[in-house]
């Protein structure tokens, strides 16, 4: 079925490629990505005389961007993936509870998100920075906390609507407990929205992480992420666009691939939509 959607197929290929880079990249690269060469400072892309690694140009310290993008893959995907998953799980669970149970607990949860939504994230980051040691896990936690409300609120809203549908009632009458009602009947209906938000949040989290790095909370040199690379390129936007362009492109590519794959998955798991993928092959 995957091959019937060339876009989704391409997206999977891209994701697999990035996954491979994340696993193998840092070992394969050695110090290519970290050794500077001030003579190649801001070297433009597509000039091959400096060698293959300089294909995408060099950064302000003359380090090859291609190598750095590869080097950054692992940390980037690790942080963004963990933060997105964490916020999704926490947000969805709380949203399910708030939407399904309603009542006092639901209200309490909802107001808690109001608090999180209005709490300045910079302040949160600083508190973490002061109270704990800077560690990647802290970055993930800060990022996750700030993203929880979006999942929570969407999930809650959808659950409230789905909860009142007849087939849920019908399962309830058969004796289904909350776990089954949620897991079998409600979650699958909310899932598409969650996935859509997740894939979109991926990009956001990657960029937000950069601002924490600048506070001293995130990754520190020589370790690097795409977000940090984009942010470092900021000062050179008018003179050397490629510094932030390539890592930005990587972020966009991953986001887009995730989204295409998730669109595809959503169609596959939705029996009403599945034909869209099936019909194609025969034409």
């Amino acid at each position: 079925m995957l091959r019937q959607d060339p876009f989704a197929f391409a997206a999977v290929v891209v994701l697999v490629l990035f996954a491979l880079l994340a696993v193998l990249g840092p070992t394969l690269l050695g110090d290519i990505a970290t050794s500077m060469n001030l003579r190649a400072r801001n070297a433009p892309p597509f000039e091959l005389e400096r060698g293959f690694w300089y294909l995408l140009g060099a950064d302000a310290l003359g380090r090859p961007i291609l190598a750095r993008v590869i080097l950054a893959t692992r940390t980037t995907l690790l942080i963004a993936g963990a933060a997105v998953l964490l916020s999704m799980v926490v947000g969805s669970v709380l949203g399910l509870i708030a939407g399904y149970r309603g009542g006092f607990l639901g209200d309490a949860i909802l107001r808690l998100t109001d608090i999180v939504m209005s709490f300045p994230s910079l302040l949160l980051a600083l508190v973490v920075l002061y109270v704990f040691d800077p560690a990647i896990t802290n970055v993930i936690i800060v990022l996750a906390i700030t993203r929880v409300p979006i999942y929570l609120r969407t999930v809650r809203a959808e659950v409230m609507e789905i909860r009142s549908r007849m087939f849920v009632t019908s399962a309830r009458v058969t004796g289904a407990g909350p776990v089954r009602l949620i897991g079998k009947h409600i979650l699958p209906m909310v899932f598409p929205t969650i996935v859509t938000i997740m894939t979109l949040d991926f990009a956001f989290v990657m960029l937000a992480e950069a601002s924490l790095s600048f506070l001293g909370l995130g990754v520190q040199a020589p370790n690097v992420t795409w977000g940090v690379m984009v942010a470092e390129g900021r000062n050179y936007l008018s003179s050397a666009w490629w510094l932030s362009f390539w890592p930005g492109l990587a972020i966009a590519l991953v986001t887009m691939s995730l989204n295409l794959v998730s669109n595809w998955v959503r169609m596959v798991i939705d029996p009403v939509q599945r034909w869209r993928l099936e019909g194609k092959g025969e034409k």
């Binding site: 019908s170 009458v173 004796g175 009403v272």
Partner: protein, 545 residues
């Protein structure tokens, strides 16, 4: 023939589902003349709704595909219209009443708006549309129509929704009205009212009606000609009286034989253990004036209902649409809390049960809801849907047997093993209802609550299902609460009957008492309004030929 309004020839529709192709309609031809009523009778799942959808241009394509045929209407081929032409036809020239009224009404718009829209779309002014909407709703028998214009679909009973759909369809006085089971959800008095209305419109405007139904009584009383379908094909056609009088095809004969209302009354045996009882059950809905207004009025959906259900008996509940039958069912199931009164299961008040007791009750009290489409999870396959009760009540049936048992249940309700892997949206209305029945049977409960459980089935399948229910009843001493408006059916199947009107029980008795010696005028009215499956030329609903 000059007065042929629509001529369908060699229509074939198929659905693709992965690698399998499902021929829903194959090579069907018929025609309908101006002003006449053509009935399409047929087995549930025989392609009646699909052929109607094809004419309306509503087949989702893909997965559906019209593989052959023409539908000539006014010199046009309805199967090959462009969007603009289609819009000019749909609504003012050909209108449709859908089979499943809840799903087909938009949940977020007030019903008044939805009815008016069908006029506004075709150039009627807002005030005119508003005025006419009110008139239409009154005409289809929505009580207190003016106040309810701003209500939403979920606030209406099944029959009321059906009537709203009808109001919407006849708003523009179309040349052809395609009515897909228009009266299935209606009680006989309202059914009579609706049929009167359609007749009247037909006289006024010369509207032709394509009536898709399995209610032989309705066909007998209203149709001029009839087309009988089975397995996607037309098996018989002709004048109603001829077909009903001398059916040629075995299927038609089978249908006519299966017409209920002819068997002997059931004689209630000595009352067994009392399983369920209701005492003074009442449910009031506030009708508020606006978002912030105080409730101005209360709608008494149930108003002090008492009932008992004993082991092994069938309690029939009849009554006009909106009389509170479904509300009573929901209350019994513990889905809505009664405003006052109580429901007891084996002497325990349902409202005060512990979770474990409730779970035990639910194991033994299953339900088939009125609205089959909505009650099936669209993402689950039929196999999953039917197996769900076993997954919930672990230990009832070992997993290894699920598959066989599912197939068995499907066959019991007249479906086939291959249907297990399909999803609800791939079925006809009647088929979905049977899936719901199969699910209710899965646990072999003590009580099954059937809210119009067989109303969407053709009489032969209906008879098959009823037979099954009866068999189970004798085997396991099952009890049923059987909500229906099809009086002959209730007459055949119920031991005792409650007659409801406006939230109150107006009469109660054994089937025989109710049907042979009705005391209340309302009951008499109901019985009288029930159409007879023998076509008579003097039927007030038939068009004057």
């Amino acid at each position: 023939m000059n007065d042929t309004l629509l001529k369908v020839s060699d229509l074939s529709v198929e659905f693709r589902n992965g690698s399998t192709v499902n021929k829903a309609v194959s090579g069907v031809s018929w025609d309908i003349r101006r002003g006449e009523t053509l009935a399409i009778l047929g087995e549930s799942g025989s392609g009646k709704s699909v052929s109607a959808s094809a004419i309306m241009g509503l087949i989702d394509s893909p997965p559906g595909r019209i593989t052959s045929g023409r539908a000539e209407f006014d010199g046009m081929d309805l199967l090959h219209l462009d969007d603009a032409e289609r819009r000019r036809i749909n609504g003012p020239r050909i209108a449709m009443i859908f089979q499943d009224p809840l799903a087909h009404l938009n949940p977020v718009y007030p019903i008044g708006w939805q009815v008016a829209e069908s006029m506004r779309l075709h150039g009627v002014s807002p005030e005119e549309a508003r005025r006419h909407t009110l008139e239409l709703l009154e005409r289809v028998g929505i009580r207190n129509a003016k106040a309810r214009l701003k209500d939403y679909p979920h606030q209406f009973s099944g029959g009321q929704r059906q009537r709203i759909m009808i109001a919407m369809a006849i708003a523009l006085k179309p040349d052809l009205l395609i009515a897909d089971e228009p009266t299935t959800a209606l009680d006989v008095t309202v059914q009579a009212q609706i049929l009167d209305l359609l007749t009247e419109l037909r006289r006024e405007t010369g509207m032709a009606v394509l009536l898709i139904t399995h209610d032989l009584g309705v066909v007998a009383q209203t149709a001029d000609r009839v087309v009988v379908m089975k397995d996607g094909q037309v098996v018989e056609r002709g004048d109603v009286r001829e077909v009903f009088g001398a059916p040629a095809h075995p299927y038609t004969r089978q249908l006519l034989d299966a017409v209920p209302g002819k068997s002997r009354f059931r004689q209630p045996e000595a009352a067994g253990e009392r399983l369920l009882e209701g005492r003074g059950v009442a449910k009031f809905y506030p009708i508020s004036a606006g978002w912030f207004g105080r409730p101005v009025e209360t709608l008494k959906a149930l108003d002090g209902v008492d009932f008992d259900l004993h082991k092994g008996e069938t309690l029939g509940i009849v009554g006009e649409s909106g009389s509170g039958k479904s509300t009573l069912a929901r209350t019994v199931l513990g889905l809505t809390r009664p405003t006052s009164g109580e429901i007891r299961w084996r002497g325990r008040n349902v409202a005060q049960m512990s979770a474990a007791e409730l779970f035990e009750m639910r194991r033994n009290l299953q339900v088939v809801f009125q609205d089959p489409t909505a009650s099936l999870n669209p993402r689950m396959s039929v196999a999953e849907i039917i197996a769900e009760p076993w997954a919930i009540h672990k230990g009832f049936l070992p997993r290894a047997q699920w598959k066989d048992r599912t197939v068995e249940l499907l066959e019991n309700v007249g479906l086939r093993a291959e249907h297990a892997e399909r999803h609800p949206h791939q079925f006809s209305g009647g088929q979905r209802q049977r899936i719901a029945i199969a699910r209710a049977l899965a646990l072999q409960p003590e009580v099954i609550l059937c809210d119009e459980a067989v109303s969407a089935l053709d009489v032969s399948v209906q008879a098959q299902v009823i037979d099954l229910l009866r068999k189970l009843q004798t085997q396991y001493a099952l009890s049923y609460i059987f909500i229906a408006h099809d009086l002959p059916l209730v007459r055949d199947f119920a031991d005792r009957i409650l007659v409801m009107k406006q939230g109150k029980v107006v009469e109660e008795g054994t089937a025989q008492e109710i049907f042979e010696r009705p005391r209340e005028p309302y009951t008499m009215e109901l019985i009288a309004a029930s159409p007879d499956a023998v076509p008579r030329s003097e039927s007030r609903w038939r068009s004057a030929q």
